[in-house]
Symmetry: C2
Subunit: 223 residues, 2 copies
């Protein structure tokens, strides 16, 4: 059993706590962004994304408790990096908010899904379920594409914004990696579990970057 390794258990607690706080935080930011919505229909679409993110928190909290952790204590180390990410990427308008919801969320999901592939089946299933697409991608793509068609200069600004989101996410991810030894060690593998060597880690980041570029392209933006 992977959980007999205390370092593995610690790393899984870290990971689930980071995802849970990420979703609480996403809820707050999306609820805030909903204020920028030009119509009630747009507001409801963003609020739906916020509620969908929040809907996963309860199961993550239960699992953290099953693993013997206090869910809120476990989340504490991730508040500063995640809050910092949001502080540094406060959307200046409705479209920056939409792109952040779509691209930022997509990046985080890709990252967690990549890590989940190296974990026990129960943890992997829980993570994948927690990252389920809220089904609002089509809405964001539609709104952003229409806005760029109406004002092509917007595309340049929003492309820069997408790059900034990626840069900030990497900065904060590095901060977490430097602080949380067990979480970092997780990727290196352990008894009974295969890990990632540096080349594999490189390929993983390449895949995440590539998917980011795909999402930007769907929005009609250069990455």
């Amino acid at each position: 059993m992977a959980f007999q390794d205390p370092q593995y258990r610690e790393a899984v607690i870290d990971l689930l706590a980071a995802i849970a706080y990420g979703e609480i935080s996403a809820f707050e930011r999306l609820a805030e962004d909903a204020k920028l919505a030009p119509t009630l229909e747009d507001k409801v679409a963003i609020a739906s994304m916020a509620s969908a993110e929040f809907g996963h928190v309860a199961r993550l909290r239960e699992r953290l408790a099953e693993l013997g952790a206090d869910p809120f204590e476990a989340m504490a180390p991730f508040r500063a990096p995640i809050d910092k990410f949001h502080e540094h990427t406060a959307p200046a308008d409705w479209f920056e908010g939409l792109i952040k919801a779509y691209v930022g969320d997509g990046m985080a999901n890709d990252f967690y899904r990549e890590i989940a592939a190296y974990l026990d089946a129960d943890t992997r299933d829980l993570i994948v379920a927690s990252l389920e697409d809220s089904g609002h991608s089509a809405f964001v793509v539609d709104r952003v594409r229409a806005a760029i068609a109406a004002d092509p200069r917007l595309g340049g600004r929003l492309a820069l914004w997408g790059r900034r989101l990626m840069g900030e996410a990497l900065t904060q991810a590095q901060r977490v990696a430097a602080d949380r030894d067990a979480l970092t060690a997780l990727l290196a593998g352990g008894i009974d579990r295969p890990g990632l060597d540096l080349a594999a880690l490189g390929r993983m980041f390449a895949r995440i970057t590539e998917r980011h570029a795909e999402r930007m392209a769907e929005l009609g933006l250069d990455s």
Copy 2:
């Protein structure tokens, strides 16, 4: 069929739209109040209430569409009175926010449930399901009682606050009643449907006021 009466149909559309916008609006305010939470655990409790409110909106929208209405157009007449209610009752601190969530929500639910009793079974079931308690009452009662025990002067201020919430709710409800003829006529009954005479209407408001007083008492507050 009650829906063959166009005035009945119009009134039901009004009612469902008012409830839907009320829940969208409650979501926004609760998400805003979550910022005042003293701990992450408290924040998550309020965010859960916000998500629970929002969770009912989708079914109400579907039903409005089935009745041939554009859901967002149907909600439009209720934005001003509901937004005004919230503007006039912006909580000054965490405890005012908690009481508003509990007492304000309770009042609105009692009112809609009373009206639902006079409607066709499908509409009644939908309304009752939309008002399902989000199960966080115990959390609010616990937090408010503990705070008053620690600072008895808080009780006086929060009792005044509860009265203000009731007064503002009545003011805005009257505004809606004056504007929406079909909705008001609904309570008077129609072909095949019993209505309320003035005495029955008086008893209905007495019941709502009484339940408000009960909730205030649970919180340890005079009403």
